[in-house]
Structures are given as C-alpha cells and as structure tokens.
Chain length 259, copies 2
C-alpha cells in the first residue's frame, strides 16, 4: 500500500486551534473525509484535496462505519494521502479506534494526529478549568448519548470528587442530572451547558444542577458540552474577564496571518 491515512483531530471548532501537524497533513492531502461537525472554514487549508463529508448532515443519514472504512482503505490503496478529519480528538468518542483497527487489519499505514478535545477546551474557553487546586483534582468525561454509557460511571462518583464533563448529552440532560442528584450531589452544584464553543457564536447556560434537566438550550438543536462541578462557579469571573480580553485582542479566531 503506497497511500497513507492520517486520523486527524480538528479541535473544538476554531480553525486556530488546529495543530501545526494537522494543518500540514491537510495541505498535502489528496482526499479529506470529514465529519459533519467539522467547520467548513477548514477547507481553505487543503486547497489541493477533494473534500468529502461522511457524517450525518441535516436530513441525511451519513455513511455507515463500514463504508467509511472501505473508503479509507480504497483511497490508500490507490496511493492517495488521506486525511480523516474529526471534530476534537480522533480517539475521544470519534470512533477513531475502529478506523485505526480496520486500517491495521488491511495493512494500510496510518497515524493518529491528536487534537484539542472539546471536553477540556469548551469549558476552558468559557472560563471553567476542569481541575483547580482546592476545588477538584480530577475530571470524568462520558458520552451522554445513552443512559448505559454514563450511568455506571456517574452512579459511582462521590459528590464533587471530580468534575463531570458530558459530550453529546443535551437530549438526556434530565437523566444525567437525576443520576447525579441520586448519587448525593447537592442540587445547588454549579452546572453549565456550552454550545458552539470556540466560535464567535459561542453561547452558554450557567445554572445549578437542579435546573439542568429543564434548562432551555441557548442554541436549540445544536450539540454542546455539559459541565457539572464546583469549578463551574469560576466561569462567573474567568468567563467574563476572558471575554473582555478576547475583544481587545488583535486577531481572534482569524486564519489570515498564517496564510
């Protein structure tokens, strides 16, 4: 096999949060297979490559995981440099592991290019450090797409022992909240819903665990990150200060000066 597949993390949304390695792989790519959540603004970084969306987009079903494996293997066998571009990090809920296994089984050379995961970046950009001395020294990241995915972890977690970060959990936020409350977390524990993080359209809801289940989403229908824990209280100070700072900054979120 002469081709090569790079499983690349695109970061949390802002093209400026791509790594140098990701940019380099995109520039040389013949083919970019991307997920629906990847920002279309990235396309300018790979001018010579064909871009092909394999994820679910409004009304369409997207490709099956098997079909994606076949596309990757076929392109590599044709000698192409393929970038498989995923939001965040390719190995954090990205099914990157499955793709890597399929490539290994087919004898296709590949690499993983880690990315900035929304699990830590979405909170950070809202002024929430997932760990903070004196408050908490660990964090838990779970998928919120199904109760079976998060209940075993959260049911065991003593109140405030770790910050809870939930990706893909907006639909089941009431179940999430009730699992934590059932485990003994105080109803007044600070909680946040972060949407469109790392973009100019970023919106957040800040409240209490007891209100999380019925919280109105700032951007209905859009995905988001949920954070629960004492560190969320820092968003009041750090989110605001940082917001002001970003406004004063000369070149926020722009790709211009790298081109």
């Amino acid at each position: 096999v002469k081709g090569f597949v790079s499983l690349v993390g695109a970061g949390p949304g802002d093209p400026d949060l791509l790594t140098l390695k990701a940019v380099r792989r995109l520039r040389k790519a013949d083919l970019v297979l991307f997920d629906a959540l990847v920002s279309p603004r990235l396309r300018r970084l790979a001018p010579r490559g064909r871009w092909f969306c394999v994820g679910k987009r409004a009304g369409t079903l997207g490709f099956s995981q098997d079909a994606i494996h076949r596309l990757l293997i076929k392109a590599a066998r044709r000698g192409q440099r393929v970038v498989r571009l995923k939001g965040g990090d390719p190995f954090v809920f990205g099914r990157g592991g499955e793709e890597a296994l399929a490539l290994a089984a087919a004898g296709v050379p590949f690499e993983v290019v880690p990315g900035v995961t929304a699990a830590t970046a979405a909170p950070a950009l809202a002024g929430i450090p997932v760990t903070h001395r004196g408050l908490v020294s660990g964090f838990v990241v779970v998928s919120g797409h199904a109760e079976a995915a998060f209940r075993p972890v959260l049911e065991g977690l003593p109140p405030h022992a770790a910050t809870v970060v939930v990706l893909m959990g907006l639909t089941l936020r009431a179940t999430l909240a009730s699992v934590l409350l059932g485990r003994g977390w105080e109803p007044r524990t600070p909680a946040a819903i972060l949407q469109a993080a790392a973009s100019r359209g970023a919106r957040s809801w800040l409240g209490r665990l007891q209100e999380l289940g019925t919280a109105e989403l700032p951007l209905p229908g859009a995905p988001g990150t949920i954070v629960v824990g004492r560190v969320v209280s820092l968003a009041g100070v750090l989110g605001a200060s940082q917001g002001a700072a970003t406004g004063a900054d000369a070149e926020p979120g722009s790709l211009r000066s790298t081109r």
Copy 2:
C-alpha cells in the same frame, strides 16, 4: 493595563502539536514564562521574546505560585505581551485557573489558549484510544501526586466502567493499582505507562494491572502517564502499526516546513 497575558497550552511535547494560535502568540510575545516540562525546541518559535523558566528544574526549586502571579501582573502592567506556556493544556492540572483568577483580580486582560492534553494524546500516540465502542464509553483523568487526589474517584469507579488515566502518578503507582484492585478490577486488566510521549524518545511499558505497582519504568526519573483499562489491549495492534507508519512518514516531528 496595556499588556496582555495568554495562558497557552504547549501540548504533550512535540512542537508540531502546538496549535496555530499558540504559535502566533509565541511569535509576538515579549516575554515567555515557561514550565520545566516545556520542550526547549519551542524557543525558536518566539525569537523576539525573552524566555524565562519558572518551573522546577534539576535541583532548583522553581518559583512559588504567588511569585509567578506577580511576574505575570508586573509584565502586563509594563505593557508587555506575555505568554504563560504550560505543558499540555493550561487548565488540566496546570494551575492555570489560579493564574487566571490572579490576573482577573488585578484587572489584567488575559485569554486561555487550550492545548492538546497528554491525558488523551499520550495514549493515542501509543495506539490507545481512551474510548472505544464496545469496550468503554468514558474516561477518568486524575492527578496521581497524592492519594487524596485519586482515591475518592477511583474507589467509586466500577471495574471497566471508564478508562483510567493518571497524570503525575508514577511514584504512587503501587497505591493506584491497589485502589483499583480493591474496587474489584480484574488483576489481568491491561495497563500502560507512557513516558516521553510525543517525542522520538517515547517509551512505554505495557502489562497488567497486577504488575503495575512493581513495573520497572522505561525512563526512570522522567514523568509519565498511566492508563488502565480494556482499551490498553489495542496498543498491541495500533501502537505497532502506527509506529511503522510514522517511520514511513516524510516529516515526523519536524518544524522545518512551517518556518
């Protein structure tokens, strides 16, 4: 205050895993305050700035957290563009939250530039996805520097409910292992110790939870990341394949083509 402080994540070690935004901030920095774990190779990215190590280095004590706050505030008040450069992500065990609070209290404008955290990147580069469909749908990240930091989280965690990632935990690895075994994790659960991740000198130990406590470190004295969970079994296939792939790659880990 005319100056500006950027709390910047330097990623897991490889300069290629810096974000575009981090590189841009470094290029314009007047002053870079960096931790001991930050690669000296990054220095070429900030040719106009003064570089100043505030972390602990062989035999020296480093600066107190208060002294770092004072340095940041003083430089910003002088009108300087300051980059506070931390390994990994500034808000994952980086004490970035404390620095952000000090800056906010002093009225100094600042921002956080999220980075690629070793908690996910070190495993990924060794062929270990922290989540994997059918194996595990969440992960826990704890600091291993003190038993009180990890025991409450790990004691509650049902076996195999989440991948366990421990940063700064090599010294207490025997305690870590005994907490998990005491919670009912199978002694044969795959475990890994990853050192010098994201560098050419990367070394890993792959074994079983029951051997973790007495495992010989590949790089004695160096820091590292511990991973425990079924996903570690994938390192056998994915670590090897990826290693071969990296060997065939034209420009691994080099900064040359970005300059």
